[in-house]
């Protein structure tokens, strides 16, 4: 058997512990899949694989136990999935019958967001799909995820870029009955950004993280949802070397800025990646170049609104060689 492992992996197939068998990977940007594709996935697993699928943490499917010889045939079969989830979403793939053109940049995953979850401040899947369109297909190893509120069910804090929804609560004092439900709740479950004085509520915008809890609790609609924003946390990672949780890079950013920063990340990687290594994960590049170089590169041509706050510096603790 002669197999170009690099090509196989770039095509989103796996090298597995079984020398003769590979494993198909299917990406589901934003984690929301029309069920009409289940029969196709089942058919592939039954006919070519071992009748099982593995559901990945990144919200894709892995279909194991497939002979390498069937890759081309299956690539053609999954074209409808690629067409619907990628091509129709304007992802730049021109030969969907050839399978996935890249695998380094991982599926953009998201929590269920406001399609179901009452806590969610926005439609996470829709942003995940917009990010997918911006960054895929691409080879660099990058993980991005989108979460609907600071509960962070998708674990945005374990990503290279984690996007967390923020909503600016708007207060109509004429509707407030001074029940203090918002004040007590913000203190209990969120940041304590609200105070009560002279029978009305004040919000400390420096403290508020835009979770929307006050809106959820208010019985009169005195709090309603204002502008939609995002917090970006960066350079979280798992791995053998120096795993860490992501840190806040930016708050109250708008959608355009989020997308531009995701795209700029690739310019930064291209400029600074260590090409002597087989691959270098972006977090380790940041460890080498330092935060300031990263910051300058990803903020290029990004228009920030007057509300957006960017951190001055993040001390990630450096590159620990142990």
């Amino acid at each position: 058997m002669s197999i170009n492992t690099k090509k196989v992996m770039k095509n989103a197939w796996r090298i597995t512990k079984d020398r003769n068998l590979t494993c198909l990977r299917i990406r589901v940007p934003g984690g929301h899949l029309p069920v009409k594709f289940f029969p196709l996935i089942q058919e592939i697993a039954d006919q070519y694989g071992n009748g099982t699928v593995h559901i990945t943490t990144r919200q894709g499917f892995e279909v194991p136990g497939i002979p390498f010889s069937k890759m081309e045939e299956i690539n053609a079969k999954i074209a409808p999935i690629i067409d619907e989830l990628e091509v129709k979403n304007d992802v730049d793939i021109n030969k969907s019958e050839k399978g996935y053109p890249a695998a380094g940049t991982r599926n953009v995953s998201s929590c269920i967001g406001n399609r179901v979850c009452p806590q969610a401040v926005f439609d996470t899947t829709s942003l995940a799909r917009d990010i997918e369109k911006t960054i895929y297909p691409n080879d660099p190893h990058v993980k991005i995820a989108v979460t609907g509120c600071p509960n962070d069910c998708i674990k945005a804090h374990m990503q290279d870029i984690g996007v967390i929804g923020q909503v600016e609560p708007v207060y109509d004092r004429t509707r407030c009955i001074a029940c203090q439900a918002c004040v007590n709740n913000c203190a209990k479950v969120s940041t304590g950004a609200l105070t009560f004085s002279n029978y009305k509520v004040k919000r400390d915008s420096k403290r508020c993280i835009g979770c929307g809890e006050c809106v959820l609790k208010c019985p009169t609609g005195a709090w309603t949802r204002g502008e939609q924003h995002y917090r970006l946390v960066i350079m979280g990672r798992t791995g053998k070397k120096n795993p860490r949780i992501a840190r806040t890079f930016m708050e109250w950013a708008d959608r355009g800025a989020v997308l531009k920063i995701c795209s700029n990340l690739y310019g930064y990687i291209d400029k600074y990646i260590d090409r002597t290594l087989p691959k270098e994960h972006v977090g380790y590049i940041v460890d080498r170049t330092g935060f300031n170089v990263f910051k300058e590169e990803v903020l290029k041509d990004v228009t920030l609104s007057s509300k957006t706050k960017v951190v001055d510096y993040i001390n990630f603790g450096g590159y620990e060689n142990r």
Partner: protein, 339 residues
């Protein structure tokens, strides 16, 4: 007298009305729902008839228009006080039969309860005229038929769409002659629902002591989260508290406001000295239910609750007031009922 209007004709009528009146109706408040990307139907001023939401019940009731959620009664300084200016325009409200009946309940409490009519309520309420939104069918949680509030003739005009682009109005008071001048005479009847999906049996002859002790209230102690939505959406809740505000930069000046209060929320029965005599949420539910379907009638000859069903619609814990009333009925009859 019946009149029909094209949209254009009705809008011309509206723009004439708006010279003298502020016109309020249920409107779609875009993005103002509790959850993200959701809308809510609430009361707002309208520009034209297309702004009016006919196909949904409003989440909040119309009472906030003439009984504001938070209202400044007067401003004070050390030795004098002054009332805020009151808008000179009169008010027209689009509302349904149950809500018109609800205003009649509010009138009882606010105008006929004490020695004097409530000054602040009267001041705005006396400016209000009704346009009744006809109900061709009832909504999910309505039980107006059970409460006898599906009918009213207390309106200047009624309105419904004939589904062919015409609005049909039964006019009882031809305000400034506008209805007869913009509309065309038509034969039809205003619409009232005769049937709801759900009916409520209001118990008579309640032995209050026995019902107070009954274990049917217990489940609400754990289910209710005391958010107060059932009160703030109710068209007949009338309780308020008074707040004296001393301005931060000059505590010698300030204002007195009155603000809606809610009997389900913590603190409603708090008294000086820190006592709070209905801590238990099941007991608060009992107080509310009994007030709505028993105590009020003893005094005013009609039930306070008009069966609009909003309290059911808005409860985050899916507590149903109407089911609760039926449980009370069953309990009164001594029937075991665990529905």
């Amino acid at each position: 007298m019946g009149y029909k209007f094209t949209t254009e004709e009705f809008n011309r009528l509206l723009s004439d009305l708006k010279k003298q009146y502020r016109v309020y109706a249920p409107v779609l408040l875009k993005g103002k729902g509790r959850f993200s990307d959701t809308d809510v139907v609430g009361y707002g001023e309208i520009q034209n008839i297309d702004d009016v939401i006919f196909t949904q019940k409003s989440y909040f009731s119309p009472k906030e228009i003439f009984y504001p959620i938070s209202e400044t009664m007067f401003y004070f300084t050390e030795d004098e006080y002054r009332e805020p200016k009151v808008e000179s325009k009169e008010i027209i409200v689009f509302l349904r039969s149950c809500d018109i009946n609800a205003v009649e309940r509010l009138d009882k409490i606010m105008l006929e309860n004490g020695k004097e009519p409530d000054y602040y309520y009267h001041r705005l309420r006396s400016k209000v005229k009704f346009i009744k939104i006809d109900c061709p069918t009832s909504f999910d949680s309505c039980f107006c038929v059970s409460m006898g509030t599906n009918y009213t003739d207390n309106y200047s005009a009624s309105i419904h769409s004939d589904n062919n682009g015409l609005y049909l109005c039964d006019v009882k008071e031809d305000i400034n002659g506008l209805f007869s001048s913009y509309g065309t005479f038509a034969e039809f009847k205003p619409l009232f629902v005769e049937e709801n999906d759900f009916s409520v049996e209001v118990p008579e002859d309640i032995n209050l002591a026995t019902i107070a002790e009954h274990d049917l209230w217990q489940e609400y102690s754990s289910r209710c989260v005391a958010c107060g939505r059932c009160n703030t959406s109710c068209p007949t809740c009338s309780c308020f508290t008074v707040q004296d505000i001393f301005y931060e930069d000059n505590p010698k000046c300030g204002e007195r406001r009155r603000v809606w209060a809610s009997c389900q929320i913590d603190g409603f029965t708090d008294m000086a000295g820190g006592h709070s005599f209905r801590k238990d949420k099941g007991q608060r539910m009992r107080f509310k239910v009994m007030h709505k379907i028993n105590d009020f009638k003893k005094r005013f000859g009609m039930h306070m609750c008009v069966g609009c069903g909003r309290c059911d619609d808005v409860c985050p814990e899916y507590i149903s007031f109407s089911r609760c009333v039926n449980k009370v009925s069953a309990a009164v009859q001594g029937v075991n009922n665990d529905g």
